[in-house]
């Protein structure tokens, strides 16, 4: 047993660090390090810079244009990128639909879609949830009826992250309403420019526009956009959820945010001394740091187990819960650190309070999402009960 990275892994870490420092535009780095939301163009710019370096698809095998890194290298890449202020690569193409197309798609689909994901030419979004189908995803109602060489899609999807920028959406649709819920679902790839698609923004409590409703009215989708077999979509969806949860602990990002919290708490004053030296506040910071230390090792244990069995396991649920609890605790402590200066919302002109203060309350509000999305933490506990505890 050895918790140190090998010299080769260390050298790889240095390589990633050097590349990010040299390749990442300073404006993007500034935003990430200060918790400012990054734009569509920022995401695409960074992904294309990585793509030009051959790192556009860090989690993919080389035969599909990926880097072919093992899970440990992938982990190091994510951690170094996060601590160096790079945006996290969006998961919708790379971690969600990409692996599904690789595993269940036909050659034509692989050739058509995968290179454009790796090169950031296509922006993908995920069409899973519906107004009546959240945790009970299999109850989804959006229908796809076969007419000749097309499916006609009708229904409504919701909570679609960044659909306003998307070129494509992958959707779970009902192709057979007569059978058991899970058995009548198919996995469709739909062009967002198709007539009959309407995107409506949902404004969240932080004032941000991150999620959307997507409406389908007689949207015609060619049958070659069906992935795998008709009515086998549930299998692909579960496969996708497993991949989505890989590295979901977000240890690298949390390490960066912990440092930001310490910087803020070192600047703030309580009783004339740095807030970080206050025993009450300091103890809460220490508590999160200790849990993050443990989560890092737990993550790496899961990474090596995944590497050995070549598939993600149910332990990912544990990482999702702990990871999001830590992310939420950090965002809460950062807001708490600035005291009353968490209250003024940044509008136009100069913000009130210290320069780091204006975004903190919004981020705290925004981060409440983390324990809800990707399978709520309660659903994750159901998965743990069923698959790890075998209850």
């Amino acid at each position: 047993m050895d918790l140190n990275f090998t010299p080769e892994e260390q050298a790889f870490r240095e390589e990633v660090r050097a590349f990010v420092h040299q390749g990442l535009p300073p404006e993007i780095r500034r935003k990430v390090l200060n918790g400012v939301p990054i734009s569509r163009d920022d995401h695409i710019a960074w992904h294309r810079i990585l793509g030009a370096h051959g790192w556009g698809a860090p989690s993919w095998p080389t035969n599909f244009g990926g880097t072919g890194w093992d899970p440990v290298r992938e982990y190091i890449f994510e951690e170094e990128s996060a601590s160096s202020g790079a945006p996290r690569l969006l998961p919708f193409g790379l971690r969600m639909v990409g692996p599904v197309i690789m595993t269940f798609g036909d050659v034509a689909q692989q050739q058509r879609f995968l290179p454009r994901i790796a090169s950031a030419e296509d922006w993908w979004c995920q069409g899973y949830s519906e107004p009546g189908s959240g945790s009970d995803l299999a109850s989804l109602k959006t229908s796809a009826i076969r007419e000749g060489n097309e499916y006609v899609v009708n229904g409504q999807k919701t909570w679609i992250t960044l659909a306003q920028h998307a070129d494509w959406i992958f959707c779970l649709v009902r192709t057979d309403p007569r059978v058991k819920a899970q058995a009548g679902i198919s996995f469709l790839l739909i062009d967002m420019k198709s007539p009959g698609i309407t995107v409506r923004p949902i404004i969240t409590m932080d004032g941000g526009h991150e999620v959307n409703e997507v409406w389908f009215e007689d949207v015609r989708v060619p049958i070659e956009n069906l992935v795998g077999e008709e009515n086998s979509g549930w299998t692909y969806a579960k496969f996708l959820l497993g991949h989505e949860r890989t590295n979901i602990a977000g240890v690298g990002g949390s390490k960066r945010e912990l440092q930001r919290l310490k910087n803020i708490a070192a600047s703030e004053r309580k009783h004339g001394k740095p807030l970080l030296e206050d025993p009450w506040f300091g103890a809460r910071v220490a508590q999160v740091e200790i849990e993050l230390m443990a989560l890092e090792i737990t993550s790496l244990r899961v990474v090596s187990a995944d590497a050995a069995r070549k598939a993600p396991g149910p332990e990912a649920s544990l990482l999702k819960i702990k990871g999001t609890e830590i992310q939420q605790a950090l965002s809460e402590l950062m807001m708490q650190a600035v005291g009353p200066y968490a209250l003024p919302l940044q509008d136009e002109g100069e913000a009130a309070g210290p320069a780091y203060a204006p975004q903190l309350a919004a981020t705290y509000c925004n981060f409440r999402k983390t324990s809800i999305y990707g399978g709520s933490n309660e659903i994750q506990k159901n998965i743990i009960s069923q698959w790890l505890l075998r209850l």
Partner: protein
Amino acid sequence: MDFNLTKEQEQLSDTVQKFVARQYPFESRKAILKSKDGWSREIWAGLAELGLLGLQVPEEHGGIGAGAIETLLTMTAFGRGLLVEPFLPSAILSTVLIRELGSSTQQENHLPKMAAGELIAVPAHGEPTARYELAHVSTSASRDGDGYVLTGEKSVVLHAPSADLLLVSARTSGSIDSEAGISLFLVPRDREGVTLRAYPTLDGQRAAEVRLEEVKVSRDALLGPEGEAFSALAAAFDVGIAALCAEATGALQASLDATIEYAKTRKQFGQPIGKFQALQHRMADMLMHVEQARSMSYLAAVRCTETNAKVRGKSLSAAKVLIGQACRFVGQQAVQLHGGMGMTDELMISHHFRRLTAIELTLGDTEHHLEKFMRSEGL
């Protein structure tokens, strides 16, 4: 980055687990607890035979000079079976102290016997007003001709009643909380002036308050250089914390396993209580504590021999905090989910509960280590 064990380590782990399962079933353990010494010489001899008492003893002194991972595996297995033998104070803490501080004569005199199970030595360090502060030593050692005279009181000295030898810390100079000026002495337990008030502890082990009244020892009782024992004490106690963390992991996993098993068999309202979501989610929370604790037991094991005291101390304190909290949560919930049965002495779960409670209180509690962690961060 490698979580795999070597073939030898796997064999060792397997052997110890089998030994515990075969030699230490719950009913035998009950009988051991009721015996006069409160622990078993027969088991002790068995541990010696397996080489486990020599894990921390170098090969030239009859040990196997194994690393921290072997100790981790051994202690995890002990935690599952709840061994009450004086392994931690004698085979870990005192062995490490004699190995690190002892002259070659002292090592030659004691380590082979300790590895063979013929000599039990325990540290007598804590004091009534010290809480968990390692540097707080008021017991005095004054020069007396060629030797020393020791006077003071040592508190909750684990397994002192069975010890042949006490490793007594005493101040040869400096103020009561000073790191400098602490010396260690090898004192036979039956030496004139040493009196014990023995008692059982919460978790069924034995301990004593040890009073030293003008105890005369010769110069060769001094272990290591005079006044410079602190850093060795801190290092040995960190090895002890790592061992305790590993033991906790075994006891935590056993508590979770027993709770799951109980939830599958106990029926209420016409179904196993494990089918109720409120209880399922509680057990999921327990599992998360257990896995996080296991991760920290690994960190503690690989860092406990780190020579940079600051890096070492920070990691060990972090591990003890997280594991102390896991001991509380998992222990409490295991009893809760067993219902009334969890309260009884009859079920092993209440014994695990008591040991988990005791582990949190041993070698620094959660608060002590949280504060130490914050200090190491410069907070």
